[in-house]
Amino acid sequence: MTDTKMILGMAMNDGYGALASSWRAPGVHADNYTDIAANIRFAQAAERGGFSFLFIPDFPAVRADVGRQTIRNILEPMTSLTAISQATSRIGLVATGSTTFQEPFNHARQFKALDVLSHGRAGWNAVTTSDPAVAANYGRTVASRAERYERAHESVQIVQALWGSWAADAWVKDKESGQFVDPAGLQPVNLQGRYVAARGPLAIPPSEQGQPVIFSSGGPSPHLLALAGRYASGFIGEVWTIEQGRAQREMVRRAAQDAGRDPDDIKYFAGLMTTVAPSVREGLDRRIAIAGESFPAQLPHLSAMLGIALGHDQLDRPLSPSQLAEAHASPMDPRSEPALEVARRGWTIREILAHGVIDYHPVTVGPAEVHADHLQRWFEAGAADGFWLNPDVFEDGVDAFVDQVVPLLQQRGVYPTDYPGRTLRQNLGVPEQYGLDPRVVPAANA
């Protein structure tokens, strides 16, 4: 444990940033959504900071009013990561792909092709999909949770079996004898589930890391934990406090253990949204300037979280002593406790909201120390093996983090000064795997 360093990843989306109105921020190019050069720029900056991976969530449907908001999602994960792979050399490339709506053969092929082209840097965040808008885009209805997860298990197993179907030593390339591949090492997988099946083999040899790394993401339901515990080497979490992080990380590790694996085989990542600025004050001002218009609409939510009535006339005042005495963190929202903490420090309502207390992840605002302190505290408390960062505005937020926070983490000895290895697997510190994991799927070696 002594020598273990934290791992950093970065989420990518439509090219603007984690803040809802980041596309309107000064210095941001409005066309970033359709301009892959933008995400390439951000990926290169993250690579300069030694980030282990880029993580691409995916929601393949339009969820907002495209008049007022951006798409909040990358144009398309595989084509984007493939383009990015050509402009980077070390950073991992993790894309979300739904086991609910895609065929294992297609997934196996595209992810392994990316893995080979990127020299062992690909990862697959294997998710299930329950959103009706997404289902409608695939012309389907939403399946039951039991069915979705059964299909997910089948899909991941078939994908991994296909990955292993070109055996590691099969490519003999013997020009003299004329043998290209040893056919004994390139055999069908012949797997038939209830929902999906494939014969194989898949004509793609191993990459430098063997095969892509599997990730899981989402709230740790028993269904998801069973899936992640068996197959995932990385878990993308959503937690707001150290206690939640420790609890979830422990659940994920236990799930791996229950599946017959070593708990260190799965790395848990907590999210963080960052606003790097010379001071907390300037950071809050930056957030207010970009996203402040949406704050009044967030008042009822904040009121509910704190259990007190907050009026529009109070936006620029802190909570009164009586409000503070009355306030209590709502058990209905895991963000309430951190929100109450910010309120107790005497910030005005507008500033409390500028702290991002209703955002999707914890938010750190201010100079490098603020971010480094948060990351170090969480890491050393065992709340995460690493973090997936969501910069407020990509255009300058990635560089700011890399130039200011990363050196501080390195000085403190909690973050590596260079990539530990060449492949995503090496940089995550997860073990070799090719094909199915015999500890998890014992019968599949046939």
Binding site: R24, A30, P60, R68, M78, A83, A203, I204
Partner: protein, 446 residues
């Protein structure tokens, strides 16, 4: 029909990065690892781009066609992934890939292809083919459906893909930081439900520089021909003679007209291949070196069958004896047999006859750049093709050969443009603009 393009089109058939000849991988200069080496593919595509080719083409099948014991796969690792990478390494050349309509949802196809189109600034094309091989269905765990369903699903998929492409209207505008991200009235669901596939949409991908990807289809008959007439901008055929080419091209043009379109909107491309040298002897020797590394005995047997000979050749390196010639029973209605017989009577040895390319799956020129250019000119002038899908025996230097030996002659004869016309694939091929569904084909386009 005076609208016909005065220039012929050229497309490079890519695939395994090694060459179309089965012996190419065993040549001393070949790096067998090229199969998975994107840098090799990049060099090939850039060479074609340097030669002014209109597009590169990644053929595909969704199963392994042989056990790879004696030769590499014909196809690459994955077309959309490879083309996405090539888009970053090229600037002008079109990027066309085969993607089956049978196993992937139209939303996924539409998204992949239009993302590639945007990232390449309007250079993407889609060879839309239905799968109908039992081996492909096995990789998706499905039984082979009734034959009529093959094209029924293709129609639904192409229709929905085009509708999704058009669902982000051209009038939606570019993101305006002081106004709207897009005009919501121009981003509408498609709500299409077929028997096999469906999608709600919209697809949140704005138009590319060419609007949407070019649609390519193979020359076919029956339902396949009807589909090409309705949707295809480019039709690819494999005629063996000028007469066949003219007939196929005419059939395609008539099908286009029958679908309510202008026949001059469709570009008919014929496959052809080359082995080139300073002299015909040098070219023959080049081809023979490849033949020696494939399966020479099988080649002799196949040539014997073409010539209708009962026994093997007594002297494969010598001209056929009068007795051998007298006993030949070529199937003269079959162009390949006729060609082989003509060559035999002209005194070529069996190995030289094979080196002329008589066993290749498409018309083949083994000779000088002048001879190759004569072939292309004859076909083009006779109305047998609007352009050519160029197969190259050995990618090591074969693509450079085509570019350096044939293209300058075609240019000098006024048959090929001095440079790329415009920046998009549609520009290169002289295709009319197209966005969304074609109202002439689908009625009101709704």
């Amino acid at each position: 029909m005076g609208m016909r393009n005065q220039h012929l089109a050229l497309a490079l058939v890519m695939g395994n990065n090694i060459g179309s000849h089965h012996g190419a991988w065993r040549m001393p200069h070949t790096d067998v690892g090229s199969f998975t080496d994107l840098d090799a593919a990049v060099r090939q595509a850039r060479t074609a781009e340097r030669g002014g080719f209109q597009f590169v083409f990644m053929p595909d099948r969704l199963f392994m066609q042989a056990d790879l014991a004696a030769a590499p796969p014909v196809f690459g690792m994955d077309p959309i992934v490879t083309l996405s990478a090539l888009a970053q390494a090229t600037e002008r050349i079109g990027l066309v890939g085969t993607m089956s309509t049978t196993f992937t949802e139209p939303y996924v196809l539409a998204r992949h292809l239009k993302a590639l189109d945007l990232y390449s600034h309007g250079r993407a094309g889609w060879n839309a083919v239905p799968s109908y091989e039992p081996d492909a269905f096995a990789n998706f765990g499905r039984p082979l459906p009734a034959r009529e369903e093959k094209y029924e699903r293709l129609h639904e998929v192409v229709h929905i893909v085009q509708a999704l492409w058009g669902s982000w209207g051209q009038g939606a505008g570019r993101p305006d930081k002081s106004g709207a991200f897009a005009d919501p009235a121009q981003v509408r669901p498609v709500d299409l439900q077929g028997r096999h596939v469906a999608a709600r949409g919209p697809l949140p991908v704005p138009p590319s520089e060419q609007g949407q990807p070019v649609i390519v289809m193979p020359a076919s008959s029956g339902y396949g021909l009807q589909a090409a007439g309705m949707y295809a901008d480019v039709v690819i055929g494999m005629p063996m003679t000028i007469e066949e080419g003219r007939a196929q091209r005419d059939v395609v043009r008539r099908a286009t007209e029958a679908a309510g379109r202008d026949p001059d909107e469709v570009t008919f491309l014929a496959f052809t291949g080359f082995s080139l040298g300073d002299s015909q002897r040098e070219a023959l020797d080049r081809h023979r070196a490849l033949d020696d590394r494939a399966d020479p005995e099988q080649a002799m047997a196949r040539l014997g069958a073409l010539l209708g000979l009962r026994h093997g050749f007594a002297h494969p390196d010598e001209a056929l004896s009068p007795a051998e010639l007298a006993s030949a029973r070529p199937r003269l209605a079959y162009a390949r047999s006729q060609q082989a017989f003509d060559l035999a009577r002209a005194g070529w040895s069996p190995r030289d006859i094979v080196a002329h390319g008589v066993l290749e799956p498409y018309p083949f020129v083994t000779g000088t750049g002048e001879q190759a250019a004569d072939h292309l000119q004859a076909w083009f002038r006779a109305g047998a093709a609007d352009g050519f899908m160029v197969g190259v025996d050995d990618f090591h230097d074969g693509i450079d050969d085509v570019v350096d030996r044939i293209v300058p002659i075609l240019r000098a004869r006024g048959l090929f443009p001095e440079d790329h016309v415009g920046t998009t694939l549609r520009d290169h091929l002289g295709l009319p603009p197209r966005y969304g569904l074609d109202p002439r084909v689908t009625g009101n386009g709704a």
